[in-house]
Every structure is written in structure tokens, then in C-alpha cells.
């Protein structure tokens, strides 16, 4: 029964998963371009962002039609809502990847710091793993991921604080590092923000499975981002 709804829902969920994979790829390419000082790759990340935005719009459109025409309730309804809410988180993550790519282009040619860049690369690995684990848990309907993601997000917050302190003290001693250092601060902050958005996606996945809206970031102290 309800063959049409099930087919449409499967298509919607498939597209959502695809968007997750594309966004993860965007983070990877943005930070790789940053570490490798690769302007061309950075530009391709900026160019691809349009596709991510269009993916989000297409998902919203499809989800709204599904709600208007099929009136899903209970678990089916939650699945649609999750796509609607989590796809905007993914879209924001895509925007942060663009932010990183823009910093790559901006600071190219300025003084660099290999140690900081290695730390940023490590931070990126953590946040990408977080997103990949999250999307995987979504597909497998595994709700045990929350703890893992909370831990990873704490790790990211700590890395951010550490990088920020290092960059600030470097900049104090060596003014040549200021332009590059500002870029490091921005990029580390973008990655930290990505971690929070992934955590939000996790909240929606938990909602999908339990029907309860949870706030898993509530007790994490503000890390003091750059606005």
C-alpha cells in the first residue's frame, strides 16, 4: 500500500544522502586546497557551491510536495521533516567550505606556518569523519552515534581553542604572520562551525528514530567564535 509515497520518500532520502556525500567532498577539497595552497581547487569549491544550494532547494521542494500531497504522519512524517531540517544544515556546511576556499585564495603568497596547517588538517579529518559517520548512521538508522559525535565535536572545539591560542601568540611575536594568521583563525573557526552543524544533523537523526527533539550541544561551553 501507499506505493507512490514510499517511492517518492525513497527518492527523497536518496537525494539527501547524495547531498551529504557532496558536502563532505566540499569540506575535503576546501581544506585540501587550503593546506596545499591550491587556488584552482579552491575556486572549484566556490563554483560547486551553487550545485549544493540547488540540491537543497530541490530537496525542500520535493519534501514540501510530499507533505502537501501525501500527508504523511508519525514515522513517515519525521523522515520528511528530517530531510527538510538537516538539508539546511548541510547547505550551511557547504557555505563554510566556501569560506575556507576563499581564505585559501586570499592568503596565498603570505607567510605560512606548517605546524598550524598540520593541526588544521587534523581538525578537518575529525570533522569529515564526523559527517561521514553521521550520514552513515542516518542510512543505517543507527542511533548509537550520538556519543561518538559529541566526543568528536568536543575534540574539535579543543583543537580550535588550541589553534587560536597558538596563532594569536605567533602573531604577537611576528607581525609577518598576521595576514596568514587571520586566515588560520577564520578557517579553524569555519571547521568548528561545521562541527556544530554536523551535531545539529545528528539531533535530527535522533529525532527521526525516537520522535523526541534533543539538544545535544546544550552543555558544551561557548568556544568564542569569530563573528
Amino acid at each position: 500500500m501507499r506505493g507512490i509515497f514510499d517511492n517518492e520518500l525513497r527518492r527523497l532520502l536518496g537525494k539527501f544522502t547524495e547531498m551529504g556525500i557532496n558536502v563532505s567532498e566540499q569540506i575535503y577539497r576546501a581544506t585540501k586546497s587550503f593546506i596545499d595552497h591550491d587556488r584552482e581547487m579552491a575556486q572549484s569549491v566556490i563554483d560547486y557551491d551553487n550545485n549544493v544550494n540547488e540540491e537543497e532547494i530541490a530537496l525542500e521542494d520535493q519534501a514540501l510536495k510530499l507533505m502537501a500531497l501525501q500527508q504523511p504522519v508519525a514515522a513517515d512524517f519525521r523522515q520528511v521533516i528530517v530531510v527538510l531540517k538537516a538539508s539546511s544544515e548541510l547547505e550551511r556546511i557547504g557555505d563554510h567550505a566556501v569560506g575556507i576556499a576563499k581564505e585559501t585564495i586570499r592568503i596565498k603568497g603570505h607567510h605560512r606556518d606548517a605546524k598550524i596547517e598540520a593541526e588544521i588538517a587534523e581538525m578537518t579529518n575529525v570533522v569529515r569523519t564526523m559527517l561521514d559517520v553521521t550520514m552513515d548512521a542516518y542510512v543505517k538508522r543507527d542511533s548509537k552515534l550520538a556519543d561518538e559525535v559529541i566526543k568528536a565535536n568536543e575534540q574539535i572545539d579543543n583543537s580550535y581553542k588550541k589553534i587560536r591560542n597558538e596563532v594569536l601568540s605567533n602573531m604577537k611575536t611576528n607581525p609577518k604572520l598576521v595576514t596568514g594568521g587571520a586566515g588560520y583563525l577564520m578557517v579553524a573557526n569555519y571547521i568548528e562551525r561545521i562541527g556544530d552543524h554536523v551535531t545539529n544533523v545528528v539531533e535530527w537523526i535522533l529525532y527521526n528514530q525516537s520522535g523526541k527533539i534533543t539538544e545535544i550541544n546544550a552543555d558544551v561551553a561557548d568556544v568564542g567564535g569569530i563573528d
Binding site: 500500500m1 506505493g3 507512490i4 509515497f5 502537501a68
Partner: protein, 252 residues
């Protein structure tokens, strides 16, 4: 959108002096499902009954305007209504199987038109009951009285009875309003399953049903066609305020 197979042109209908339809013009695209929605008394059932001249059965009724099936006006004096109703079949609100076996119900129209070939009848019975998604439940009970089945099964047997004569158009007047949700869903599924072979018009006061199964929707109010558009458009951004109000349950 596919081409219209049956088209109403400025159809007015009077019960005695009282005008019940105020000039309806509406086309039904081939092999698609068109839903007619609207509150009670809006004229949607009255209108659907004009499409195979069921309204002729009431001597008080006068119809003006034209209804063209493949270009021919079905209200022309030349029209053979028996032939017409073979091409434009109808399913009603209350399941109304004849009080004899499932097999005889489904083959009724075929026998009327003189088909006696047992193999052909057998084949049509199986085909039609499968298309109406009631074959599994009836295949071992074809000789049993159709009235001994549940309401939902009876309604699908009635759909099979219509399908057996291989009409071009199937009209359904509130086909699920006497059924429980599970039976209704089965009827909806069978309509979706046959829509690649038949043109379907369904009157329903269940607008969720209209949104789930139809390709386009016509909204009737007080004997007027207020809005006619693709279902996805009507249910996401209707053009008229009355349509929006009705869909949101503010009246009707």
C-alpha cells in the same frame, strides 16, 4: 499533459427549474486521474453523472451544452446510451454487486454484449480481478456470492466488473466513502495500478485522497467550477481563495 479524451463544454444542468450546474467546461486528459472535489451540493456528483448520461434516468433533468467523447457529442440523439456506458463505465459510492457469484458479476457486461466463449470469459475475469487488486482474495471463491465479501472487496469486485467490459473512461462517484481506511487504500492502489490503461474521473469529498492519487483536480462550489489545475499546484499554491479555504477545511 495528455490530450483530452472527454470534454465538457459549457454544461448547464437543471433539476426542473432549479439550475444545479452553471456552465461547466472541463477536459479529462487521457490515461490520467482527475479528481473532482467540493463540499456537498457543489455539483461534482451531478456533473460526473452527465459524462455517461446517468442523469438521463431522472426525467426532471435537463442538460444543455455539449459533452464530447472523442469529438462526438454524447447528447446527440444518435448516441446509443448502452454503447456509451460501455465506453464510459461507472462505480458508485455503495458497493453494489449483483446478488450472484463473483464470476457472474464480472462477466455480466460481457454476456450482455453476447460473449459466450468460456475461455475468453475466464481470461477476462482473471484479468479484471487482478487489475482491481482483488484477485488473490477471490480466486478460490469465484462461485461464491459477491455479497458475502467485505465492503472493500465488494467495491473492488465492482471495479473489476467495470474493467471487464474494457471501457475507455471510468467514473467513480465517492468510491471509498463507505469503506474503512485500509480498504480505501486498496481501492486507491488499484486505481493507480490501472491508470496507464484507463482514463479515470473520481468524485471524492476526501481531499487527501484527491491529493494522493490524482494528476489534476477540479474544485466545484455551488454548481461552478472554481479551479481546475494540476493536483500538485492546487495543493501547494491554489489560485483562488475559496479553493484554499476549502482545502484547509474552513468550510464544506
Amino acid at each position: 499533459m495528455a490530450k483530452d479524451i472527454i470534454t465538457a463544454e459549457n454544461v448547464h444542468l437543471y433539476y426542473g427549474q432549479k439550475e444545479a450546474l452553471h456552465g461547466i467546461s472541463l477536459g479529462f486528459p487521457e490515461k490520467e486521474i482527475t479528481a473532482l472535489i467540493g463540499p456537498s451540493g457543489s455539483g461534482k456528483s451531478t456533473f460526473i453523472r452527465t459524462l455517461n448520461r446517468m442523469s438521463d434516468l431522472n426525467p426532471e433533468v435537463t442538460v444543455t451544452g455539449a459533452i464530447r467523447l472523442d469529438g462526438e457529442d454524447i447528447y446527440s440523439p444518435k448516441t446509443d446510451t448502452v454503447e456509451l456506458r460501455k465506453r464510459v463505465g461507472m462505480v458508485f459510492q455503495q458497493p453494489n454487486p449483483f446478488p450472484f457469484s463473483v464470476y457472474d458479476n464480472v462477466t455480466y457486461g460481457l454476456r450482455l454484449s453476447g460473449i459466450k466463449d468460456k475461455a475468453l470469459l475466464d481470461q477476462r475475469v482473471e484479468e479484471s480481478l487482478k487489475q482491481a487488486a482483488v484477485w488473490d482474495e477471490t480466486k478460490d471463491h469465484l462461485k461464491e456470492n459477491a455479497l458475502s465479501f467485505s465492503g472493500g472487496q465488494q467495491q473492488r469486485i465492482c471495479i473489476a466488473r467495470v474493467l471487464a467490459v474494457q471501457p475507455e473512461i471510468i467514473l467513480l462517484d465517492e468510491p471509498t466513502s463507505a469503506l474503512d481506511p485500509v480498504s480505501s487504500a486498496k481501492v486507491e492502489d488499484s486505481l493507480l495500478a490501472i491508470k496507464d490503461q484507463f482514463t479515470i474521473a473520481v468524485v471524492t469529498h476526501n481531499m487527501q485522497q484527491a491529493s494522493r492519487i490524482s494528476d489534476q483536480t477540479a474544485f466545484f462550489l455551488d454548481g461552478n467550477l472554481v479551479e481546475f489545475s494540476k493536483t500538485v499546484d492546487m495543493f501547494t499554491h491554489p489560485e483562488k481563495q475559496e479553493t484554499s479555504d476549502y482545502l484547509n477545511g474552513k468550510f464544506g
